[in-house]
């Protein structure tokens, strides 16, 4: 019903190898996802669980399915977030570039499709929420390094 694209850059004070290692492991990502609960499946490349979101206008317990893939230099997160308010699904592409010895630029791009009642929110609000969740994960990596 609605397509949302977000993109931006984020710097992590860690080497590219270390960041790649963290981002290539769903078990590490899951530690940085706030509100994760009732994990049905958690493997190195995949996650199936519920997630409690209470962010501004989006509130509730949703189902989350995510898969990690690697494509040349990019890390890909294929995800599906769904519940009674609709579903958001899409692909997040992360491109990592070493800036200095202990600094890595993560360039992110996400193409999301939002359906159901969730799509009634303006695209700006949805992209702000998606960006917030993504930055929370990356912030968390900064603390894990």
């Amino acid at each position: 019903m609605g397509k949302v694209n977000i993109e931006g850059n984020y710097f992590v004070s860690s080497s590219k190898e270390k960041v790649t290692e963290l981002l290539s492991n769903m078990q590490m990502i899951s530690k940085c996802l706030k509100g994760l609960e009732e994990i049905k499946e958690l493997k190195e490349n995949s996650l199936s669980s519920k997630i409690k979101i209470s962010e501004g206008l989006v509130r509730g317990i949703f189902n989350l399915e995510a898969n990690l893939k690697k494509d040349l230099d990019n890390l890909l997160i294929d995800f599906k977030l769904y519940g009674t308010l609709g579903r958001a699904e899409g692909l997040i592409t992360l491109k990592l570039t070493q800036v200095e010895k202990n600094s890595t630029n993560i360039s992110y791009k996400a193409d999301l499709e939002v359906k159901g009642l969730g799509a009634t929110l303006a695209k700006k609000q949805i992209s702000e929420l998606a960006e917030k969740i993504l930055k929370e994960i990356l912030d968390c990596f900064n603390n894990l390094k």
Partner: protein, 386 residues
């Protein structure tokens, strides 16, 4: 044809208004319905009567409307079964729920925070997690929306109101009074009320008015009550998973979506996507709930009940709900002797007894005496302009 008051819309709001006007002695009233009585939103609502609202005006009107439903025969003259089965609300937002019910208790609304024991006495199979709160509103329930709307119609007709079905309004305009053109003829009225639900913005648009109203399809499904499933004999709001249920005869349960801003969460900052603006939605197109939505409802139910294995969907529908950016109705005199009632935002039916009263008083006295209508004024939208 000349009329004193013409009301466009033969749903719960339009006919409640007609009833209240006639009940206060106003004569020469005509109601125009483009299809049949209660064919629009009033015929597709779950007709839950509850009072849990964060907006104080809406909670007050819900309170007064519930009392009206309780004494419907006394008030309207026709019997109506008000199934006061109670409402159970589950939410993980404990603090905001507690503060909401504390405020509502000050309005005289009864609530009880359920502990394990009291919850079991209502439903021994309902699972509530430790991080959630369960609240009980004992006075809540549901009614038959078509019976309600028809009862308003019958009571209005008893008092001389004329109702014409199957006549669609083509345009409205102002000469000496208000001129309403329909597919069949032209009417003149001293005062005009447009309470046509999702059609209201379109009807007033030919005056150059662009109402801040968005039309959102809300999915509803009816499931067969599983054999030996004795739960959910009350109205249930799962604010954690965002759905509601209510019992439906015979042996069914209605399941629908709860949008956070509809009930328990502030709508501050809510900006609906422009694709839902009334001018971009074809209301002649009807929708069905899709498989993914129905699956999410059923998962939501299974999240609460371990004993719910097989769930059979009986039917589904997806009526439009007319919402405003703050999820509160618009009740106002927008031009001299032109009154609009729209943007019910999902709570229209349960408020219908008092909304009708408010509009009738605006029409008669230019001011709603029963409850101040200012919080529902169109003027609250600063951007709104002709």
């Amino acid at each position: 044809m000349n009329k004193n008051i013409l009301i466009i819309g033969g749903g719960a709001w339009g006919l409640s208004t007609a009833f209240h006007l006639a009940n206060q002695g106003v004569k020469d009233i005509l109601v125009l319905e483009r299809n049949y009585i209660a064919s629009g939103q009033s015929g597709h609502t779950s007709a839950i009567v509850r009072q849990l609202y964060t907006n104080e005006t809406t909670a007050k009107i819900a309170r007064m409307s519930l009392e009206f439903f309780r004494k419907f025969k006394e008030n309207v003259g026709y019997d109506l079964d008000f199934n006061q089965v109670g409402l159970v609300v589950v939410s993980f937002e404990k603090d905001s729920m507690l503060s909401t019910i504390e405020r509502l208790k000050n309005l005289g609304i009864r609530y009880e925070v359920l502990n394990n024991e009291s919850l079991k006495s209502i439903d021994k199979n309902l699972k509530v997690r430790d991080d959630e709160i369960a609240i009980y509103e004992p006075e809540a329930g549901y009614v038959d929306p078509i019976e309600t709307t028809w009862n308003f119609a019958k009571a209005a007709m008893d008092k001389g109101v004329q109702i014409i079905e199957g006549e669609k309004v083509v345009s409205i305009g102002k000469k000496e009074g208000w001129v309403v053109k329909t597919t069949n003829r032209e009417y003149n009225a001293s005062k005009l009320v447009v309470a046509a639900g999702i059609e209201t913005p379109k009807i007033v648009s030919n005056l150059g008015l662009n109402l801040p109203v968005y039309l959102i399809p809300f999915p509803i499904c009816y499931i067969k009550r599983p054999y030996n499933f004795s739960s959910l004999n009350y109205v249930f709001f799962d604010f954690s998973v965002n759905y509601y249920t209510r019992p439906e005869e015979p042996n069914q349960i209605i399941v629908g979506a709860v949008h956070p801003q509809m009930s328990y969460s502030s709508a501050e900052g809510y900006v609906p996507d422009e694709i839902f603006h009334w001018s971009k939605v074809d209301t002649e197109v009807s929708h069905r709930a899709d498989y993914e939505t129905l699956k999410a409802y059923l998962e939501g139910l299974r999240f609460r009940f371990d004993n719910l294995k097989e769930i059979k969907v009986v039917r589904d529908l997806m009526p439009y709900v007319d919402i405003t950016p703050d999820w509160e109705p618009i009740i106002d005199e927008i031009e001299e002797d032109l009154y609009i009632a729209c943007g019910s935002s999902g709570h229209g039916f349960k408020l219908s007894p008092m909304i009708g009263r408010m509009i009738s008083e605006l029409v008669i006295y230019k001011k709603s005496k029963v409850i101040d209508a200012k919080p529902y004024s169109i003027k609250r939208y600063r951007k709104w302009e002709k």
